[in-house]
């Protein structure tokens, strides 16, 4: 990555509280216009990292650079960041327009320029008709858009989003996610956002940083993270997968002690292999690939597809399949499945 285009750089960022390490040597570059997501379970240090960028948390060591200048010791109100808080943090005693104008006043916009900018922002988030309302009179989705407009009005170098969708109901969340992504891409703003929702990270981000116990586990595009996880943690945290521990022999065949045999063109030796459930199918649905006999241990209905837990001679295999209405297998049924060898990924040895 070209260092010169990095809008936000984290260098060896650390944060320790008393004896616990919240963030452990995190280094990152976020380039102009990129949507970068910090993903991880709660307590993994993603929010602390975001707050260190905004300046609300002081790093124990390491540095934060915004557009090339070191802001590590700068107060939050001197940093060129715009934050959308998880709770939106709209000022309850100000109208929508006043909320958006607040920041503009602080950076010395004249009254007329303020009005124009507020109007422009309200147009951007399609809330012109609500400019005189108070936050308490808005729905959750509208509040989120006001918070976004308020941050964007300042034209910050970096936009920070803290779990921006967690307070919205499921249907709205999916739609707003698509809308917001399109908007951020259109205005080409550099964005760092935090979530614990892997689906959100995959659909929203250009690049995902998976964090665990304060450390970066893997950085990559959503497809890289999903298809070629670097560690067992990433494989299990992002989506569903079967995990096989076994050996690759000289002929390029991977075997576990429990009768899983898959062709795997890798160098011989012990291996951990993951298979995503969409690469496992009922035998009749997949033309080729090795056939295994499996016993159904659970079958969960998700509408468009079913998620099954299968027992293949003591080895757990997860499968996602579509069954015609009324034809899904029941617990205890014996079925034949095929595993598509193309879907088998060997985890890098550590």
């Amino acid at each position: 990555m070209d260092k010169n285009t990095a809008v936000l750089t984290l260098k060896n960022l650390n944060k320790t509280y008393d004896n616990t390490t919240a963030v452990d040597s995190v280094s990152l570059d976020v380039v102009k216009g990129e949507l970068l997501c910090l993903l991880g379970p709660s307590g993994c240090g993603k929010t602390t990292t975001l707050r260190m960028v905004a300046g609300f948390v002081k790093p124990t060591s390491g540095s934060v650079l915004i557009q090339g200048s070191d802001v590590t010791n700068q107060a939050p109100y001197r940093r060129d960041t715009g934050m959308v808080f998880q709770s939106y943090a709209l000022f309850p005693h100000m109208t929508v327009a006043q909320n958006i104008a607040f920041g503009l006043q602080n950076i010395g916009f004249a009254a007329k320029a303020q009005t124009e900018r507020v109007h422009e922002m309200l147009q951007l988030v399609e809330l012109e008709h609500l400019s005189k309302r108070f936050p308490a009179e808005l729905s959750g989705g509208q509040q989120q858009r006001v918070a976004l407009a308020r941050a964007l009005a300042m034209n910050p170098a970096v936009l920070l989003l803290d779990e921006p969708f967690s307070n919205l109901d499921a249907q709205l969340r999916v739609r707003l996610r698509e809308d917001l992504r399109a908007l951020l891409k259109r205005i080409r703003i550099t964005t760092l956002f935090v979530t614990h929702d892997q689906e959100e990270a995959l659909m929203f981000a250009d690049r995902v940083v998976v964090m665990r116990s304060g450390r970066v586990e893997q950085v990559g595009s959503p497809a890289e993270i999903y298809e070629t996880p670097a560690t067992r943690f990433v494989a299990e945290f992002i989506g569903w997968c079967s995990l096989f521990e076994g050996v690759v022999d000289g002929q390029g065949v991977f075997t576990t002690g429990k009768s899983i045999r898959l062709p795997l063109d890798h160098k011989p030796g012990p291996a951990t292999v993951i298979v995503r459930p969409e690469y496992v199918k009922p035998a009749e649905a997949l033309g080729s690939g090795p056939v295994f006999e499996a016993r159904v241990t659970s079958n969960t209905y998700y509408g468009a597809l079913c998620r099954l837990r299968l027992d293949v001679s003591g080895q757990e295999v997860l499968m996602e399949a579509h069954y015609p209405y009324g034809h899904g297998p029941s617990i205890g049924d014996r079925i034949e499945i095929r595993i598509d060898p193309k879907g088998a990924r060997r985890l890098p040895a550590h």
Binding site: F56, P76, Y77, S87, A89, F91, P92, H93, F102, N106
Partner: protein, 266 residues
Amino acid sequence: MQNDITDKVMATLGVFVRATVYVMLILPAVIVVIASLTQGDSLSFPPKGFSTQWYSNAFASTPFMSALWTSTKLAVTATVIVLSVGSAAAFAIARYRFIGSSLFQSIALSPLIVPVVVLGLGLLQFLSWMGFSQSYLGLFVGHLIIMLPYVVRTMVTGLLLLDRTLEQAAMNLRAPPFRVFCRITLPLLVPSLITAGVFAFVTSFGNVTLSSFLASSGTVTLPVQIFTYVEYSYDPIVAAVSTIVIAVTAVVILVIERAVGVDKLF
């Protein structure tokens, strides 16, 4: 069915109890107001005839009017001072961890627990030892002390309930700390400040015990004046003065209610 009957009995009883409480709260004030309008020259209920002569007498009475002035001046200035001192203390308690912070809070709240008589006696001795006895300053300081816990309690609660991410959001929008305080923190604390102010004012304005220990001839407050007056005289002028006090209080509450809404206060 059994439950229905029990429910109905309980509901009726509840209405009865509530009505009794309200009547008991309001009736004394109503009786005082009515009694003040008597034509006779002793305090009685029902009043004999109707006149407003006791009001003209009250306004003409130097002891009562100067006491009313003393009380008002004392309560207003002490409220202003105690709001600033108490809010500052509340900020320290609610926002910072320091050694002895809970001791500090306990001391600030202690005048609520210590009987006012004890406090009055102690202050009297302390102030005379300091050379401030029988002075307006001594009375003023005594009032500050009994007002302080109401302000500290109300403001600590208000500060703890204030969402601090709002302040962070303001900071993120390039507002330096003082601006955050003026534009975000302070406006959001206005309801708490008004509540604290009302509590403090009423505490000072209605206090008899402490004032009677600390008052001197020049600094007699209205409650003390009324109290000493009824000891040797029983004419309706006290009822008229009390009615004036009730009217003033009602107007103040009404204005606040119009301005911010009483439901937001408590």
